[in-house]
């Protein structure tokens, strides 16, 4: 067995400290079983207050219509769709960590995947709000579904990217939820079997679906996780590709480009990892999980940030090049006048985007910076601001001055209810996250146990001895028995 569990010493341990299986359970269940701290209550109440403000803002919009927002002709998609794309993008990191890194057999994902997947689900929930309430007459929202109706039946337009979005986002939400919850079942069973209080036995008993840990069930569970990961991988790429089609299939200068799908996907992963960092840098400290979400994890994720940030940077430059190379006056105007020119009305937003997304992440080429928590936290906020401005730039600077000068719109600033709606989704997101971190294990307990004897610090130290042992002696001592 020892041989099978070998992992090179070059790789730093993924679980620090002297741990055995029981200790892992104790460490991760402790925050769930303890009383919530004052800090938790403070954060939770602030989130609920924000959510309340969001509900008020949306109510205003329902009663008085989208006129409550400062949208105008030609800026029909302002903050609303900017926020939609921003939130969907944030969700992507969770699926990348849980699905793509599972297929790539990256052991470090085990420390962060549960929280990142939860983040995905909450972010997609927030994202979904925007197109729904943007409909104005939201009580007719079901019109987007293909159902037999009295108008013919007149079907929805299956050739429209906006309808593709309906299918993409709802599928993405459903599959992410199933993936996340099926992974949670064994850990909820752990909490159920440790429960002392009546309500805990009831709550986790219902939530764990009667999981027993039978070998046959684990075999099916593994098969399920692998296939769901295989399905989620193309799914996550398709979702932001389809979101980018909302723009790319139009003829608006600045939107009508073929680079959008890969550029949007890279940007989505970029912003998503930034949000994961924001959450985990705080979560690991508050819940005392530094031994499971180690500096090593933070370091690796910062590498992903500098990689995807640079891909996004290349995409920006490619766009500029293509605008110039196309020799189309409208394309040129959109990129070099509406965006690049700092003196144009929205030029500032382009440069905020460039600064936050392309220049600032380059600091992560330095190992010291990648491993510095303060820098990481600060950078994660900066990247999220930058990625929000990317969507703002794409939407607003493209439509406010396009073909006919007579159709150019006046300067657009959001109304209080538009801002309130956005803040409200922060409330929704963090309310969900606070509840999650209180009632669910934020780290996948079973998965940590699975890698413990390979990547745990105390086990790796023993491996160290093995590494220096004579080969013949080693094989005699640890080689497993092939006899009958």
């Amino acid at each position: 067995m020892a041989l099978l569990r070998y992992e090179s010493q070059v790789r730093p341990p993924l679980v620090e400290g002297d741990k055995d299986y029981h200790q892992v359970t104790e460490d991760i269940c402790r925050p769930v079983e303890a009383k919530p701290s004052k800090l938790w209550w403070a954060g939770f109440l602030i989130s609920v207050a924000l959510l309340g403000f969001g509900v008020l803002s949306v109510t205003m919009e329902i009663i008085y219509g989208t006129g409550q927002w400062n949208l105008n002709k030609t800026i029909g998609w302002g903050w609303d769709i900017t926020n939609f794309v921003w939130w969907v993008g944030i969700g992507h990191a969770g699926t990348l960590i849980s699905a793509i890194l599972l297929l790539f057999r990256q052991g470090w994902r085990t420390g962060v995947n549960r929280a990142a997947e939860a983040m995905t689900i909450f972010a997609v929930m927030c994202a979904g709000q925007f197109p729904i309430w943007h409909m104005g007459r939201v009580w007719n929202a079901f019109f987007v579904l293909p159902y037999p109706n009295t108008r013919g039946p007149l079907w929805v337009n299956f050739n429209s990217p906006l309808l593709w979005d309906v299918f993409a986002i709802s599928t993405y939400f459903t599959v992410s939820l199933l993936f996340w919850y099926s992974g949670l079942l064994p850990d909820l069973a752990t909490l159920r079997d440790r429960a002392k209080k009546k309500w805990r036995k009831m709550f986790y008993g219902v939530a764990a679906f009667g999981w027993t840990g039978s070998t046959k069930h684990w075999q099916r569970h593994e098969a399920l996780s692998l296939v769901l990961a295989g399905l989620s991988t193309p799914l996550v790429l398709s979702v932001h590709t389809i979101v980018s089609f909302d723009f790319a299939t139009s003829v608006v200068p600045g939107w009508h480009t073929t680079i959008f799908p890969p550029y949007f996907v890279a940007g989505a992963i970029f912003s998503g990892f930034a949000m994961v960092q924001t959450l985990l840098v705080v979560t690991r400290k508050v819940l005392g999980l530094q031994e499971y979400i180690t500096i090593e994890h933070i370091d690796v994720m910062n590498k992903v940030i500098v990689l995807t940030g640079s891909i996004v940077g290349i995409a920006y430059l490619t766009e500029l090049f293509m605008a110039w190379y196309s020799a189309t006056e409208y394309e040129n105007f959109a990129f070099f006048e509406n965006r690049l020119n700092l003196n144009s009305p929205y030029g500032w937003s382009y440069w905020i985007m460039m600064g936050c997304n392309v220049l600032s992440p380059q600091i992560f080429w330095f190992r010291k910076m990648r491993r510095n928590l303060v820098v990481t936290f600060f950078m994660s906020i900066l990247v999220n601001i930058g990625m929000w401005f990317e969507r703002f730039v794409i939407i607003v600077t493209s439509v406010y001055r396009d073909y006919l000068p007579s159709a150019w719109s006046t300067y657009y600033t959001p109304s209080i209810w538009e801002v309130g709606f956005y803040l409200g989704t922060f409330g929704l997101f963090f309310t969900c996250y606070f509840l999650f971190s209180k009632f669910f294990p934020v780290i996948a307990i079973a998965e940590i146990k699975h890698i413990l004897k390979r990547s745990g610090e105390n086990y790796k130290e023993k491996m160290d001895e093995i590494e220096h042992e004579d080969v013949n002696e080693f094989s005699e001592k640890h080689g497993h028995d092939h006899g009958a």
Partner: protein, 196 residues
């Protein structure tokens, strides 16, 4: 669904568990199940369980999704209500790829999860008997099913000899029933005195 008699033993190390499983099978005892806190690769093979067909089911669900999407959109846009979008063909297959793909994934994922829950008998308010609550924490629990021919004392001694600790005889229900974990609910179809 019936209450059966089992001999159970706890293991704390996979390195002891694997050879133990082999020895138990060689000795001819019937392993009811091994309960583990996390998936142990190769244990299913060691126990002689066959591979799961869940993948195949997933493939079939996926194909169903593909067929549903292509079939329905084709019917809706070429037969039921044709809409002329700037003279483009009614059968606009490339434009349907995104929705077809999404439905393939959706059907496969939902179908597989439901099948998984059905096969493992998992659902909210499902109650099962557990041999040892620490099997979701740090203990690998092996349960041998006792048949008419099994000598309990012998089986217990054998489990001990291959490295199991806390060996004992337990009477457990093998199926599930509707119930909650916070109170003792009656197993269906059983009289109270039959439950040991």
């Amino acid at each position: 669904m019936a209450v059966k008699k089992f001999v159970t033993g706890n293991f704390y190390d996979e390195a002891v568990l694997f050879p133990a499983v082999k020895k138990v099978r060689r000795a001819g005892y019937k392993i009811h199940d091994v309960f583990t806190p996390f998936p142990i690769h190769g244990l299913d093979k060691a126990m002689g369980l066959r591979d799961t067909s869940l993948h195949t089911a997933g493939f079939i669900y996926g194909i169903t999704g593909t067929a549903t999407a292509v079939g329905f959109i084709t019917w809706a846009l070429t037969v039921d209500w044709q809409i002329n979008f700037g003279g483009k063909p009614f059968f606009a297959l490339p434009a349907w790829i995104p929705i077809t793909f999404e439905l393939t994934v959706l059907f496969a994922a939902v179908g597989m999860v439901l099948t998984f829950c059905y096969l493992c008998q998992l659902a909210p308010f499902v109650r099962k008997d557990h041999f040892n609550l620490r099997s979701t924490d740090d203990t690998f629990v092996m349960a041998l099913e006792c048949t008419d021919k099994t000598n309990d004392a012998e089986a217990m001694g054998f489990l001990q000899s291959i490295g199991a600790s806390e060996v004992q005889v337990q009477y457990k229900e093998t199926g599930w029933w509707l119930g909650r974990y916070d109170k003792e609910t009656k197993r269906f179809g059983l009289k109270e005195e039959a439950v040991h």
